[in-house]
Symmetry: C2
Subunit: 715 residues, 2 copies
């Protein structure tokens, strides 16, 4: 499969000589290309003639040596690109001088003094960052290869690269051979250096693992990290992170050996990964916080600029990507970048938003480990997105959030997860690393919108257990804009406990949007069930009386994330439909919840037991019941308008008047929701999901797994 | 001064026949005019042929009858405008039919059932809203006057208008005759009806008060509500509110009797009020929260659209207003509106931001009751604004915030006041009125950034006392962009206590921005002094150890606003420069504070004793000292950049290394701040503010009230 020794051409990793010439010819043609070029040139030019520091590694992320080495590999790469676009030897010299410093430094390095992970770095605190360095330094070297003497090449290859490659493929062999996003970077790093230095051994280890048996390595990572739809089990925030090394190394491989057809590998899996990742963003471009995710991060990040610019060329122009490219507001200096800049210059009708749509993705390499559903109503700024997660765990960044849901509306988070507890790049906050509260709070079940049994997280909060299981989708349909539905179950999060949740996203007449949430749980013994709603907005009012804790706040619990919740109010509720309205921005949201028998309701806020002020202070409403089998029926209604500038408030009250559970048994759930004077009936099968089966229950009859009737008409 | 009986022309209040014709001729010429016209027409057309409800008054603000009557007067006015622009009698008929309903309703009304204020309304819960109705209903009547029979006119004038005018000028005479923003509305309402109905008596009462002696009424309100600079003592949020009746009634008066030269009255005071109000906004258009203010309210509000469109014609085109007009994105259908729409259509280079500048305004009718200073550095999105308030109290909406300061940066609130506790128009929140916490928390001194003595608000929190006093400016200078300075004192907020605070806004080399804050307090006995910093951002770190209250939160105090503060952490500090860094959006801010002897520091958050969840949960750092005379020396530094997308964090640490007070006595304060390796010296006089006086102290010599030296050079 791998070629014999070839007469190497340089450059070949980032672009070829032909591609570079065509980029050069277009530089002044398109405003965005021109701007991107001049931004890059300005930065590099500020270093020309200076003695760039290559410091001995000392600091964690956010500290000087970390940021300097990070800036250095970018500078070397950019300067290498500039050399090829200008032919000016000063850019090649800058790369060479820096490379020679690394050639002197790297052989002297042992594990980084701030290393805390099981994969310590040498230039950086973690090996992952060393891999970043290798990818870019490899490309930089290739870009100036033709300007170097044989002696210089040997010095750099032996000094700067070999210690790092050896470190990865020997000391860190187990990590290098993982099926994990870190390994994508690691293999791309070794492989990039392999291509840049014409080292077949490196390339082969990169593609097929250190054992060269293909069980690991880059091909295996393309085969095993994504579901067939392109869903990445760690979530879209980490798809973003992984997609850069996939893109740049695939690009280099494709230049090096087009016959590999690397971009077509596994039915264009990289393209699917990109598109699935983009569909998992809010209209402001931020990634949905499935699993660990920083909520500030959006699709203008360097990783997605790189992927879009490379894929634009590899997979052909996709005009749906233009709204994203426009917001990125810069392009790479490659063929894709030129073409995108040309499109942006010539196309005056680019939508302000990515073309969001309802979609579902499976999880698992074979697509049989549950998945996600993302349902949408509306267009542009008026988009509402309902997210439902019934995936496998998500590796080390997974959260204990089986059957969790989230809601976005008008670009705002409405029902949300915490995301990650991390201030990336901020040295004062634990060197920019994940903070302890990331595991102790953000990953715990109570930080999500799903049921917690007995104040214990799913799978006991143990990754080693959680990794063995996934939820399963039972049925779904997002082809009818009036009724989008998905049902899933989870049988392993708690022992001898069956959880089944069906979400209906409804668009009723007059563009009335609501979610109906039927959550059934069955157990073999009595338990306490907590169903939290992490709401984002200001408390407006409740339909019930509660007791606020006004003078002394205490945590709601002692462990599994509960210790971080201040208990601000509580209520005891009996046999009613409780309603809670909150205001987010200019829209009201009401949660209506059927309380059968009795329940407690808590209003909480994060911030307890947080001596370092690492957490944001965010509210939740938690419904608590006790029992064996329980059915939660909730309606989340989007309503009204608050206009503080015009001083108008319309439809500030919910239209939902009451909820009844007409039938609940092993076979069926039938709920009735009074929406003003109109009756909304939701009837569903709990076991038989055959789409052709006819059911007749309680004077209702329908075909298939569910039926939604409004005002006497089936929707 | 008032004319004899004239032959009345109609319309005359909103525009004249000539003006209407010229608007009509331009309607299709400019996109924004066309859009504004069609929006208005679409709304009115939806009511044509319908029986518009004129309900018996019942609900408070946010409720049906309130909102309906509010919508009704707008509808009548808009329909009247449309009649004049189209000549279509259906629009006049809509007004007539509604007017006749009010003519039947109004004579039957007694005080509104939800009336709670000392000035109850009849159609609405408060008379102020009735005045709004009168202004618009008066204009609407005038606009269709020519279509009505004599009998219809009599019915409407006697039924719809006379009861309201009589109510205002008899039962509510004292309120009508106040010097207060409510009275601007009240006099405009009565006066507008006077012009519309050719009633000299009404006009005379409107202009000169019910006693017609000129001590009150519209002229007196122009003379006595603003300082000579156009500063309105209630603050910009209420300037906004008052300026609409000023503008529309002045416009009507000007049409009715141009010889009054009403717009030129008091040296163009209305124009000054508008421009001073706009200078008191953040770059997003929201008003600075001096005194009661809703932070969501911005200059796109109807009041400022109206004022700008009328003043554009009355005072001539002012291109500085175009960025505001552009964001308002609609115009009135009058001469000014046409001209603005034309400018917006033809001018492609409108700045995205209003032309903000450093400025100072006096307070008080004669300009001798203190004032405000607003200092600025930077342009566009990079604007930093420092606000300092040393005014009189601000009538019933005043806060106890003597010598309070605020800081805005890059469009964000950095050091802030709470604003108002109110959800305007939200019926569930106390009918949209000010909530109790508005007085008990938001107005109290501890909710601001100034010293609180013995946990008691300024003037004991008594408006009747506070109204008698004002702070005084001692010296200021904003002509040097490197050093903008203002000093003011307050001797009455606490008995036998002198407070003197000088703020320096510095722009050092490399566009380094910082505030140096010298706050001296002298008393005749031992006291506890609290200096709060209401910071807006995420806690990053402190230079000192503190004890966090992790398991049980209690309020910091029991009264005067302290009961609403949860005490999240405390520290005891001795003889040092304490530093606290927080992150807002993408920028770091550090407060460095000299602690002489010892102090306590508290981190607090609002939300205690708030059973109805009326408050936002906002943090503060409070420095507490005990003593007789105390000097607080603080430096607020704007630094660095946090970029979560690129994962870079630069200059996350403050450059201030330490603060020393080199000299503090009755005559001088000299402070030294180490900024990295550079020495910043601030020397100021505490008593002698003569700009020509030469001072020589401690090897320093300078001329005038202050001197700032950086790195050996006087700035």
């Amino acid at each position: 499969m791998l070629p014999g020794v070839m007469q190497a051409q340089h450059p070949i990793t980032f672009f070829t000589k032909t591609e570079a010439l065509s980029v050069k010819a277009s530089l002044s043609k398109y405003p965005l290309l021109k701007q991107s070029y001049s931004d890059l040139k300005k930065d590099v030019d500020s270093w020309i003639g200076k003695d760039v520091d290559v410091p001995f590694p000392k600091d964690p992320a956010g500290g000087y040596t970390h940021d300097k080495h990070k800036a250095n590999y970018t500078l070397m790469f950019n300067s290498g690109v500039l050399y090829n676009l200008t032919g000016d030897i000063k850019y090649a010299k800058l790369v060479k001088d820096m490379m020679l410093k690394y050639a002197a430094l790297n052989p002297t390095l042992k594990n980084h003094p701030e290393a805390t992970s099981s994969s310590p770095g040498r230039i950086f605190w973690q090996a992952l960052n060393d891999a970043n360095w290798m990818v870019y330094a490899g490309m930089a070297y290739d870009l100036v290869y033709n300007t170097l003497t044989a002696a210089e090449r040997k010095t750099i290859e032996d000094g700067a690269f070999k210690p790092e490659v050896d470190f990865f493929t020997h000391e860190l062999k187990d990590w290098f051979n993982l099926i994990h996003n870190h390994a994508v970077w690691a293999t791309a790093g070794v492989g990039m250096i392999g291509i840049a230095t014409n080292n077949q051994d490196y390339i082969e280890m990169a593609l097929k693992g250190t054992e060269k048996d293909g069980k690991t390595g880059f091909f295996a990572l393309m085969d095993n990290l994504f579901s067939p739809d392109g869903y990445y089990t760690e979530g879209p925030y980490y798809t973003r992170y992984a997609i850069l090394p996939y893109a740049v190394f695939a690009n280099a491989l494709n230049n090096w050996k087009p016959s590999l057809k690397i971009f077509q590998h596994r039915d264009n899996i990289l393209q699917k990964a990109l598109l699935t990742c983009l569909q998992q963003t809010n209209i402001d471009g931020t990634f949905f916080p499935f699993n660990d995710a920083l909520k500030e991060k959006d699709y203008t990040s360097n990783e997605l600029v790189t992927a879009i610019n490379i894929f634009w060329n590899a997979y052909g122009a996709d005009k749906n990507l233009l709204p994203v490219a426009k917001k990125q507001n810069r392009v790479m200096l490659n063929k894709g970048g030129v073409s995108i800049a040309a499109e942006l210059a010539n196309n005056k009708n680019i939508s302000p938003y990515f073309a969001y749509k309802s979609f579902e993705s499976t999880d698992g390499v074979k697509g049989d480990e549950g998945g996600i559903s993302v349902f949408r109503i509306g267009k542009g700024k008026e988009l509402t997105s309902l997210l439902y997660k019934y995936t496998s765990h998500g590796l080390s960044h997974g959260h204990y959030d089986k059957l969790g849901m989230m809601l976005y509306d008008k670009g705002n988070e409405i029902l949300t997860n915490y995301g990650s507890v991390r201030f990336i790049g901020v040295e004062q906050k634990y060197g920019g690393r994940y903070l302890p509260e990331n595991k102790s709070y953000a990953g715990q079940t109570i930080a999500h919108n799903t049921i917690v049994v007995d104040e214990t997280s799913h799978f006991g909060g143990k990754e080693s257990v959680a990794e063995n299981f996934h939820s399963d989708k039972l049925f779904s349909n997002c082809s009818n804009p009036a009724v989008q539905v998905v049902a899933a179950k989870e049988d392993n999060a708690y022992k001898n406990t069956h959880m089944q949740r069906t979400l209906y996203m409804l668009q009723l007449e007059g563009d009335k949007r609501m979610i109906v949430d039927l959550f059934n749980i069955e157990a073999d013994a009595q338990h306490q069930y907590d169903l939290p709603f992490q709401f984002n907005g200001h408390f407006i009012n409740t339909s019930f009386k509660y007791k606020a804790t006004t003078n002394k706040l205490e945590p709601l619990g002692a462990k599994n994330g509960y210790q971080f919740l201040w208990k601000e109010a509580e209520a005891k509720i009996e046999n009613t439909t409780l309603q809670f309205t909150f205001l987010n921005d200019r829209t009201y949201y009401t949660i209506s919840s059927l309380i059968q028998d009795s329940a407690k309701v808590y209003f909480t806020r994060t911030g307890a037991n947080d001596p370092n002020f690492n957490l944001r202070h965010e509210p939740a409403m938690i419904i608590r019941t006790n029992g064996k089998d329980q059915s939660f029926v909730n309606v989340i209604e989007i309503h009204g308008k608050f206009d503080p500038v015009y001083e108008f408030s319309t439809n500030a009250y919910p239209t939902v008047k009451g909820i009844k559970l007409l039938l609940q048994n092993d076979d069926y759930t039938i709920a009735e929701v009074m929406v003003g004077e109109n009756k909304l009936i939701i009837a569903q099968c709990n076991k038989d999901f055959n789409t052709k089966q006819i059911h007749s229950v309680q004077n209702l009859s329908w075909t298939g797994a569910y039926m939604v009737m409004y005002n006497g008409k089936i929707l």
